[in-house]
Point group: C6
């Protein structure tokens, strides 16, 4: 079965930029699991993108997901 | 007695995907413990799935539960 | 004097399930310390259990308390 | 000068119970620093103690302060 | 391809001040990724800057992003 | 250039009390960076200091900033 909540089924990424992209995806996939109806989600996406407080809530969640991914990657320290 | 708050009574999972599933379940089981009435919860599930801010709140909690599960699994580093 | 904020005055529990129960209790005991009047709390409990956003706020706090308890127990790794 | 934000100017406590009490005090002292007028705070205390969402917000902050205090005390592991 | 979510594609900064600037930028770039329309964002920026609760939400997110960046830099301890 | 986001450009403080003061200042400086107009900020300060939920939001952010500062100082353990 393909993973549906964690793309690639791994928290490891090559760079912080990719870690950030993964954080965005993981946040979205939880929304998708909670509301599987694409039509409803499409409508809500509009709400997220246009409400000031909504956008901040999205930013908040991505920050949290990224904190976990960054720790998993030992902060990409070289 | 079967555990009712942590399925399997363990935070250890084989993969990040399963860790994410556990995070969703653990979040739901707290809601269930706080509101044991299935009929009420059923109604609220609709509210969660259709409100933009609600969905984000769900995503927020899952992110937090997952942070703990990921640390418990040392981020599934191989 | 009996502890009134941390049952057993310890964060150590035998299992994740018990850790989760402790998280719920610790969250409740802060509410109790802030609003000692049992009659008021009884009324508010109804509000928590029936409001969708309220239930999520409860879930949020339990997730935070549990993160601390899980770290205290080194995630019950065996 | 006496410390006004951290009683005893230390995060170390003998027990989790005392750590929890410190968390409550530290949360209150920030409110006091932001709103020094005792009369206004007295009125707001009523709001906190009687609003369901307010009480949860208080519980949320105490959980966060406690996480820091618990880490400072290495979780009072014996 | 230039990174669009993490300037410089690194969490490492020379000082806390620069870490803080990075936190602000990373928070903004998530908003930008969620709402790519510059005209809409421009309008929302007004909302953020003039609403008391909005400003606090911004501060909240920056605090979270900064926590990750600070850990990545081992807190710039010398 | 003088640092405008982290006073002293360091997270290290002598005591928890000073760490707490730094947390308050860092939280304020983000607000200032987001809303540079002193007149607007002055008005909002009134809102923060008199709204129950606002005050709790301030307390919340300070708790988060302090968690980072406390870790940076290894919790001032002696």
């Amino acid at each position: 079965m393909d993973p549906t909540l964690v793309p690639g089924n791994s928290l490891v990424t090559a760079t912080p930029e990719e870690g950030r992209q993964l954080a965005i995806k993981m946040a979205r996939l939880i929304i998708k699991a909670t509301q599987p109806d694409e039509t409803v989600r499409e409508k809500l996406r509009d709400v997220y993108a246009n409400g000031a407080s909504m956008l901040l809530q999205v930013g908040h969640i991505v920050a949290l997901e990224f904190a976990t991914i960054a720790a998993a990657n030992r902060y990409w320290r070289t």
